[in-house]
Every structure is written in C-alpha cells, then in structure tokens.
Symmetry: D2
C-alpha cells in the first residue's frame, strides 16, 4: 500500500459510504468527470452485492481544487446525499492531518512516529505531545515539538482530562495513544471530537487488559503480536485497524517478548497512523475497511 | 484477496487497459450503468496519473448476462476501443477456466492443484495432465482426470511438442507447468495460444536456472523462496505473478531446503492459478498488475 | 529446523529433563563419550540458570545401537536418574513413530499428512485412520491405510470410545486429531496411553471453542491463525506446540477465512507432527520446549 | 533468540570450532565442569557427523570469572587446541562490544542502532560515528556520541582511509556500515583488524550492486528484502548473517519500495548487530552459523 507522503496540489480524496444500491459507482465517477476531475485511483468494496454496505475511496486530480471544494460539496450533497442517502467526506490531500500524541514512559512508538514524520513518510504534523511522565520531554523537543507534562493520579484524573481537552480541542484531527498507560474516560472520548488510535501490545482479542507479554509467556504461545485500533469506551474492544506478529520460542523470557514485541508495536502503529492520515480507513460498525 | 470459487450466474468481469487519460473510469461505469449492470467490485490502477498506463478490473452483476455479451461487446468496442484506444476483455464468471497441466516427477504442486480444484477452491477444470514420466498417472486418474504420458528426449522433443500442441489446442485456456523439468521451445509457446504459468523453485531473480536449492545452500542464504511467473522465451525472465519465502538456517541441508521449499512452491503456484482463473492478473510489459 | 525423514541406523536420541543443577551437561556427554558415542547434535535449555528447569536433547551415533540400548538405559538410570533425579528417554531414530489419526469430514489436514508421509517427509507410519463419518474412506484407503468408520452420537460415545481404545492400544505411539470434531473424554485421554495432538483453527487463546472463523470475522481481525497443541482435559487449553497466521482483510467473508485458514492449519499440524516424530518437543508444565 | 542486553557478572561464552571428531562436546563440558562452571546454555552444530566441521557456543556461569580467564585459557589451549586441533574464543559476557559506525546520509539504520543501544537492547557501546557527510552530526551527538566528518573523494580516499584506521584501531571490536555508500578498499579491510558488518538493501544475491530498489521495480518482484553480511573484498559477496523481506505490489513506485525497504534494513541490521555482540555468529567459509 502506497502512502502519499508528498501529495500533489489539487489532489482530492472522496470517501463515500452507505447502503449499497445499483448506480453508486457510476454516479460518483460521472459527478467527478463532469466537474473536470481525473480519477487517480479508486477502491470500492461492498459487504454484499445484494443489500450490503457500500464503501468507496476515490483519489482524483482537479485543477484549482481549493477554490472548488465548496461547490463540489454541494453537488455531493445533492447527487449522493439526497439521491442515494449516502454519507460522504471530501478531503484535500495537500493538508496534512494534525496528530496529537499521548505517551507515558516507553519511547519506541513515539520516536518512530516523530522520526517518520521528520523524514516525510507520514502526511501529518504533530502540534503537541502530552505525557503523564516527564521522561521523554527532551526527546520530543529535539524534534521541535511542544511537550506538555500533565501528571495523572486517580484523584486528579477528571481535572487533568479537562486540561488535556482544553489543549487538544480545535488543534488536532486525530489523537494517537503511543503507549499511554492511562484509561481515557467515556466523557473524554466523547468530548475530544476526534478519532483516537491506540496500540495494544498483544494480538487482540488474545490477552486483553494489562500485562499481555507476561500472559503470553504463561500461556506458552509461539507468536506474539500487536494491534492498532480505534478507541471506544469498551477497553481493547474498538475497531481493529492493523495487526502483526513475530515468532516467540521457549527461550524467550517475558522481558524478551516485551523487547521483541516493541518492534511490532511501532511498525503496526506507524502503519495505522499512515493509513489514517491518507484517509484509507473507513469504520464499519466495530470493524474497519482499509483501502 | 477473495477467490470466487462459486461465482454467481450473471456475474461478469471486465478488464480494461491502455494509455491513461481523463474520463476512463467514468466512461466504463456509465456504460455498465446504462446497460443495467450493478458494480460488485472495482479495482483500478494507473502507473502515473499523468501519461501513465491504465488498468481496471470491474466485476458486475447484469441480469441475463449470457444473452447480452455480444451487444455489450459492441458497446465496449465503440465506447472504450474506438473512443479511448483501450484494450478490453469481457468474461462470464460462471465459466471456469480450462487448465492443462504439465508435470514431471515431483507431486506436490500437481496434487495441491487437483485437490484444491476438487474441494471447490479454484474456478477451473482440468481437461488433462501431460507428463514426460509415468510416475504420477495413478494419482491423477484417481481425480477422474486423463493422464497422458509423453516421454521426451533431446531428439524427439520437436515431435513431442507437436503431439502436446495437438492435445492442447482448443481444449485449454491456460497451461500450468507444475514442476515440469523440460524447457518449452519458442515455437511451442507461440503456437499454444494460451498463457503458460511456471513455478520456479527460487526467489527470482536470485538463483536462476537449474539446481536453485543447492545454489542457495552454497550461498548461505537465510530465506528460500519460490516464484510463479508467466513463461516467455527468456527462461526464468517472464512476468512475475507471485513470490513467497520461508526461513532457512545453517542446519538445513540442500535436501532440507528442497523439502521446505516445496511447501512454498505449492502455495505460490496455487495462488497464481487462482488469481489467473479469477482474471485478477493483467500483464504490464514484463511485470504484472494483480488486483 | 531439520526433520530427519531418513534417519541413519545406529543414531539415538536422548531426552533429559528435570531440576537444573551444575554438572548435568557434563554428566550426559561424559556418559555418551565413554560408551563410544559421538554427539551429532545437542540442544539444551534451562528456564533459569539458578534453580530452573533443565531440558536437553542429544542426538548421537553409536555403533551397534540396537544391542546396546538396554545397557545404556541402565547407565542412564544410575548416572542421571539416581545421581541427579532427572527423567530421561532414549529413542532409536531408525524407528518411525506409529501415528493414529482421527478425522471427521474436512480432508485438508488428513491428506497433507498422508502425502507427506508417502513422500518421506515424516518419520512415521499410519497404522489406521478412524472417523465418525464415512466420507474420507476412499481417500485414505488409496494410501494403503486402513480406514475405520465409527459413528458417534451423544448416547453411544462412551461405548465408541471403548472401541476406539481397543483399536489403538498397543498400536500407536501418538494420536493426531486432524480436524476431529468430537470432544474426547477425560477417561479416553487417560486410557489411551499416548500423547494426543490437536489442530485448532484459531490463534489460541483467541477464539477458543467452536466457530472461530465466524468469530474472527465478527471481531474484524486482520490476521487469522491456527494452533497445534497437546490435548488435555481442559478444551483448547493444552500445551501449544506451534502456531502460525495469515493475513485477512475486510473483503474476506467467514467462508474465505475458513478456506485461507485451512492452508495454515495443515502447515501448522504437519510441523507439529514432524517435530513430535523427531522427539523435538518436551512438555514443560502447560508449555512446550521445541528444539 | 534471546539477546542478553544485561548479562550477569561471571558469565562467560566459549566459542569452539574446527574439524568434527568424537569426544569434543564431552571434552568441553568436562573442562568447564572441572573448573567449577555451570553450563547455562549450549548450542552445537556439525555440518556432517562424519568428517564435517564442528561449531559450539557454550554460555556458562563461573564464580570470579575475571580472575580465572587466563588459567581457563591455558586449559583450553591444551585440551581443545592441542588435543583436538580446535580454534576457541573465550569472552566475558559483562563486557559490551565496542561498535564503530560508518554512515552516509540515510539516517534510519544509524538511529535505530542508537535508540536500541540507549534502551539497553544491544550489548554494545558506540565509541564513534564516522561519516563522509556532515548531515547526521547533530542527531548522533544528542546521544552523547562523538561524530567525525571525513569527506571522501576519489583522490583523497587512500588518505582518508588511513585517517579512519587511525581513529578506529584499538578502539573498536566491530565496525558497522549503517548505509555507508563508499566501498572500503581491501587494504582497509585487512588493516582494520575487526569484523565489518554491512547492510545491503536487497535480498542478496538478487540485485547486487547499486540501485537495488530501482532494479526490483523494473523486474516486477512481489517481495523486497534486505541482507546483513560480513564485508569481504568481494562486494556484496561476503557471508550472510540475516535477511528478511516485505511484500511489494504493482502500486509501489521505486520510492515506495525504498521507504518500505528501510523498515526491513534497520530491522535486519539491528538483529545482525545484536547477535554479533552476543557472540552468536560463527563464520563458516562464506556462510555463517547463527546460534
């Protein structure tokens, strides 16, 4: 899957989803064609050709796109929204996503994201990193990114979440938990107004909850894994975006599994963030469609 | 990638390729929409949005398809062939491909194909298996498939190739070399009038030619692989369809690598055949586009 | 990992396990050296150098081994059993394991084992295949192996298990459940007097119990897997021998996952059986050491 | 494979290699046992039990090891060197390897090594990083590691190599080329007096020489890879330590392959360095034994 680190100007992405019915693909491509757009790539999926759910991601090139977004939006409202009852989202590829990051003490996922961003692999900016520990401040600031230390205790959590929300709201398009070892409240998730991506250090749904590497060692599994998923109120139960595994043997201690697993965690999380920033992921109930 | 072992009636596949230009996606979907077809899935790829090569595979449902193939073909000729200079291919999904198989002595690739066909995983029939050795006759006939033994020597090769062509022509849609240890002549490849798929027992372009596992052992590689490719006159140089690898260690003898590699060979070949039978592969010069 | 399909005569395997303590490796190698044996390969593992559990597998060559087994056993009893309190097992590599197979209707795991056995990849013989369905009789008998059909209902199960035990006892060294869809009773497992290997069609401990592919589809996982494990009274909880996974996408239906998973199931089971037949697996509580 | 980031005091590693013959394993373990050492782990491999090459890595615990190294060395000389004609190497696990790094402009392999070192994953120190470009100076110095910029032109190369040697000699145990885009002369390799590890950005022996990702794109391969190997005078021909691959598709441009490949390069190189630092790799002609 190609990630568009350097999208062209005048490139747009149109995400369409809803109940499947004949004629949607044709309606979308005709609309774009009449507007003067050239389709660069098109991915389409229907959960069932008869009465299923429809998903489409179309990348197109349209001269002077920024000035034509509004008019295009009106046509989409009429020709897809009203005529077919579909939901759509129109995005300019030139605009990187603003990604807020929460982290605790482990540095591997955080550093991997910041480094990939610096080398141009991720279509994102990082307006801020917030941590409940001070440890990673210097590392973050060396990338020229603000680091804010907000300690959390059981008592101060509601108050700290308000402070976090105050910092985030209006400033981010997506929040990434890069090994943040605090559970976010349902209120926070509702108020933050942006999708939240978490990396879980196991192959979900195996080893949900805390201490997955120790559980994996105890169960004697021969593979360990990591899972990136959208966060919902049901801990470790949100829609899965990406997963991967690596081999383990009887020789590996729980600490070895943790070290080995860290390589998978950062890889899986960086893929999930790259795809999210390229508008490749569409939520489908508690699953995801990844184009 | 889903393989359609049991395609629905009235499902068609349209493969389009040629020089990219604005409006192709729209033209195809409008044509299908006006004909009353519903798009089931659509894959599209352009090697370069500005002046590249265009490829599209569209699966659609159209009532009474068998009786409408001819009229649809005429429209495609006019609206894609003449208007855009594109090449197209229209296929009824309900028709399984007729797959001829050449084999020598090794049974693993052959048995895997026949067994997958029997259990309904491959949208194919096997009209005949031809071998230069008699060893696998009983195995093949137990699947109810004709087995023809045609020994080959350096002297008889031209004559035997004529006999092979006589058996194949008109009876197959694709020829699969399931570990056939004879080189086919350029004349044969030209005359057979069907694509030919080979499985090579290495990760091409490493270890071309004979004895790849011995070469791999000598070079001390840590992975061994297999490659399925279309056969051209340039031995081991044709367009690659699929490749995979498995880990090797210093402990593996050349015989171990051969045993281990056999698992990869049969897996890679069966994927290539499944995709070919589902019209998922489009040749692009000496490469392939696999949807 | 090399599998010894064609072990040499006069090759022995010595498996030693117990509480770790200084001097075990030296004691074993001195004993073998004095007996005139040459060590071919040696694998050793200690769960913790201070007070852990010790495991060792030594392959050696000793002229006239069959006639020296008894004397060697006495020395092992004295010098490892009595002196160190260790458990040991001495095996002649030339003797293939006798593998009984239970199967229901799915043929992929069964056929893969029989093909590999015929090809010389597995150091085993198959004295009999027992099934609760008649479907696979012809396939099995073509390999020259007896197929016994023993239907099972809830009422007849205790009686049938007695019949199964009667057929197996004394005739097998290990029992393989190659997709056998009946749960074996605790009494059966106790009485059969041989280890039992099962293939579970998920990456355990995810999706325990029935219908794992449907559960995987519902949970939206991006990888599906299979697990070979020794059977204990706790269903799907026995010591894991081997696991592997394959990628899944939103396009895969539950039926697709099942088809795709079958490739992993047969691969994982065949590895587990190969390793068991080569005495590479040592049980360690509810885990396994695989050398 | 476990990497010993935090080796215990008094832990030693003994590497033995030479012509195989009966009694070596016993001689080694008896020698260690008499010295009062307890074997922690033992890996052994013989290329052929009859007249092959013998390799063994033994990790042991011996109280007061630092003060006993010399006496142990004398015993090894007598009982392995003189009696069996074997080569041996005795190492204290508590001493990290001193790893010099050469780099050009690409940062991914370098940073990954430095991060892992800081995190305690690699049993190494990095006395210096030398580069023919100034670009990565700031990144390196943030880790508290000296960065030396030595530009190289065709004319100055012999002189610069002398300067490099002057900096390295006596200060390093191994030299790592973390994407260093200059070819080292045979004289340099001879004089440096330490093994040199390189990361090549292809699955060797495919795509040797420069520009492997472009070649991979042109050949249309479906997997791309990376290879870590010891450097010899024969470019890209030295003993392979580790290799891995990642999937590629028709959609990937050469730049995509390069980005994707970078993930494999840094993973493969870090494994090779970790294993080298743990004395897990033994050269065997133009291959490696990796325990």
């Amino acid at each position: 899957m190609t990630t568009s680190a350097a999208p062209l100007a005048d490139v747009g992405r149109l995400i369409v989803q809803g109940a499947d019915q004949p004629g949607i693909v044709s309606a979308v491509s005709t609309l774009l064609s009449r507007a003067g757009a050239n389709v660069v790539s098109l991915d389409q999926y229907s959960s069932d050709p008869r009465g299923g759910r429809f998903f489409q991601r179309t990348v197109f090139h349209l001269p002077d796109l920024p000035n034509r977004m509004e008019a295009l939006g009106q046509e989409l409202d009429e020709q897809l929204g009203e005529a077919f009852g579909l939901t759509w989202r129109l995005v300019e590829a030139r605009k990187p996503k603003r990604v807020g990051i929460f982290v605790s003490r482990a540095d591997h996922c955080l550093l991997d994201l910041l480094w990939r961003q610096r080398r141009g692999e991720l279509a994102m900016t990082v307006p801020m990193v917030i941590s409940n520990h001070p440890d990673l401040g210097e590392d973050v600031r060396q990338f020229g990114i603000p680091f804010i230390h907000l300690p959390v205790t059981r008592d101060t959590k509601p108050e700290v979440e308000k402070e976090q929300l105050n910092l985030l709201k209006g400033n981010i398009d997506v929040l990434v938990l890069a090994r943040y070892m605090q559970i976010l409240s349902g209120d926070f998730l509702e108020d933050v107004g942006a999708p939240v991506i978490n990396i879980h250090h196991s192959f979900l749904p195996a080893f949900m909850g805390a201490g997955p590497y120790l559980k994996a060692k105890e169960r004697g599994v021969k593979l360990i894994g990591a899972t990136a998923h959208y966060v919902t109120e049901d801990l470790d139960e949100g829609p899965i975006i990406e997963q991967d595994v690596v081999r383990a043997t009887h020789e590996d201690t729980a600490a070895d599994l943790q070290r080995r697993g860290a390589d998978i965690e950062r890889l899986v999380l960086s893929r999930a963030v790259a795809w999210h920033c390229d508008d490749r992921i569409i939520r489908d109930g508690n699953s995801t469609v990844v184009f």
